[in-house]
Symmetry: C2
Subunit: 329 residues, 2 copies
DNA sequence: GTGAAAGCGCTAACAG
DNA sequence: CTGTTAGCGCTTTCAC
């Protein structure tokens, strides 16, 4: 059984196609009785307008493409959910495209999305490093989320990593710690450097010397365990970790040598990745990047761009500190 | 600058619209020279056919909807990636819809997808329990992945949890363990019961008594720590855990009481969730549900359904055991 | 070989 | 108030 078209509805209601259209869209001047008759027929036939036809006519599709390089991993998922949220269920639909970090795939996706006449594009990443901008035809607005275009053009929305580092340091200072160390991921990651910078700035502002230098390494538990071992000699009373995974590794080592958390050493992680942070012993205080908000904001800029009011430059979404037992609640 | 249409291409090449269409699609009989001229014009103008118009004409859109109740979490993401894979980049595009487990949202999404004339629907979940079937109009094939419809209609693709439990038990038996315990999630989860059943069946087949009863609890590290404590009195030499998180909790407790892994107690987890399994001390042997494969298979059935050859009933994708240090691999 | 015309489903302008 | 018409961009007969 074919889906009902407006022609069927018109026939069933005994009116012309044009009248049916007006009745269904509340346009023009019609007798109330006619409207009702058409509505009833539509209801009866389970009519829903063919979005494709509407889009063809309107010249826009009420869809956007969401491209990620991240295999829709831990970082782009929340961004995506926030974006979906902001685009409004049923209003604008989202084409999901995962490039697997392959530039060729990305190009194919961009072409396909252009052919589908998407109204705009969100490009999400897992690293905030500048990347090659996507090349879309003219007239398709693009917003970057959790990544940014190398040319500096095109609006981008990023978490405020530096602010997150500051938040962590201020919290540890506020609970009275003065020998605060920092263990984090690879130095080549911009977000690692930014977090370290925010952390250092907050200590400096408080007139507190950092406990040892920033230890760059990997984003793994193993590195956390190892770095914590190296660091014990410095006798820290708090450690700010660049990720929850690192924090868990640190906790393992502290526990193994009999240091109590948070009594002897307070711990703050980063990412607020629920299964990691909550499962830890004890549960981790952690900095949350509010990635859903990043996605929402990015989608908002995209909508603005679609309505002809494009945003520019890099926008930053503040982080949020979630306090749990690892820093004494 | 407007995007080029086939009309522009035709004009630039000095042919009619119909001829341009034929040239671009390799249809009909045309002089080679004409084809080339049209192709050149298209190239020149950066022409790409408007998919919307093609879809309108063809009566199908070359899109599918992917609905998940899971907030695109840990389970539906891989399913989605596998599906995307099978649908072929640029061939069929995927509309992403996250219902947040809200039936009303789901209904709105289904309507919207029908209005967009998707060729089919994949419904993904995070639990394999039967769920209320989605109500689509006639003619839209639906495949369930990692969930199944309560009415038993409609094809579904599930991981083989029972086989996974068997796999774990057989592995532990093969490395010589005979006092094998099982700690898992809530009994109300079908997958927990299935895994337990497969596990028990394998032990029975080998003539080995299980070490204590199956301990149902939660899918958390905390439960793993607690259950391991209860279980120590039974002196197990191996523990099969219903999730990697549980396994990590178990490992914590074993370490705390000085039991070595895997020498004293071998450990097998479930999910093969990389950050959890690899970060553990030692890294966990784990059963992988091959969710990408689940997604691929589901997409395959959907494609079959779209071509008028619908699949029926529940299909199962085998699990895979990934051996790491926690079972002496 | 190529062009003209019809039509996919819908909306908007214009007649009546 | 309602019906007719044109046209969004494309493909596909069917004439020439």
């Amino acid at each position: 059984m074919r889906r009902a078209t407006i022609r069927d509805v018109a026939a069933a209601a005994g009116v012309s196609i044009g009248t049916a259209s007006k009745a269904l869209n509340g346009q023009g001047k019609l007798r109330a009785e006619t409207r009702e008759r058409v509505a009833a027929a539509a209801q009866e036939l389970g009519f829903a307008p063919n979005t494709l036809a509407q889009a063809l006519l309107a010249g826009r599709s009420y869809t956007v493409g969401l491209i990620t390089t991240d295999s829709f991993g831990r970082f782009s998922i929340p961004v995506m959910l926030g974006a979906e949220d902001a685009l409004g269920i049923g209003q604008i639909s989202v084409f999901m495209c995962d490039t697997r970090d392959d530039p060729e795939r990305e190009e194919r996706y961009v072409e396909m999305l252009a052919a589908r006449r998407v109204d705009g594009l969100i490009v999400a990443g897992r690293r905030i490093e500048p990347r090659a901008p996507v090349r879309t035809g003219p007239g398709i607005p693009v917003v970057y989320a959790m990544t940014q275009p190398a040319n500096g053009h095109g609006p981008a929305v990023l978490p405020d990593d530096e602010g997150g580092g500051r938040l962590a340091a201020e919290h540890l200072l506020a609970i009275g710690r003065r020998r605060i160390a920092h263990i984090t991921g690879p130095e080549r990651f911009l977000n690692a450097r930014l977090r370290a910078r925010g952390f250092a700035a907050a200590l400096l502002a408080a007139g507190v010397e950092p406990c040892g230098h920033t230890r760059y390494g990997e984003w793994t538990e193993r590195w956390g365990r190892e770095a914590a071992g190296q660091l014990l000699a410095d006798r820290p009373d708090a450690i700010f970790c660049g990720s929850d995974q690192i924090a868990r590794g640190v906790a393992d080592t502290l526990r193994a040598v009999g240091r109590r958390i948070p009594e002897d050493v307070a711990l703050v992680g980063f990412d607020n990745w629920a299964p990691m942070a909550l499962g830890a012993l004890p549960p981790l205080t952690s900095v949350d990047m509010c990635l859903e908000e990043v996605g929402r904001v990015a989608a908002g800029y995209l909508l603005a761009g679609i309505s002809g009011d494009p945003a520019h430059g890099v926008h930053t979404v503040p982080c949020r500190l979630v306090v749990r037992e690892s820093s004494g609640g």
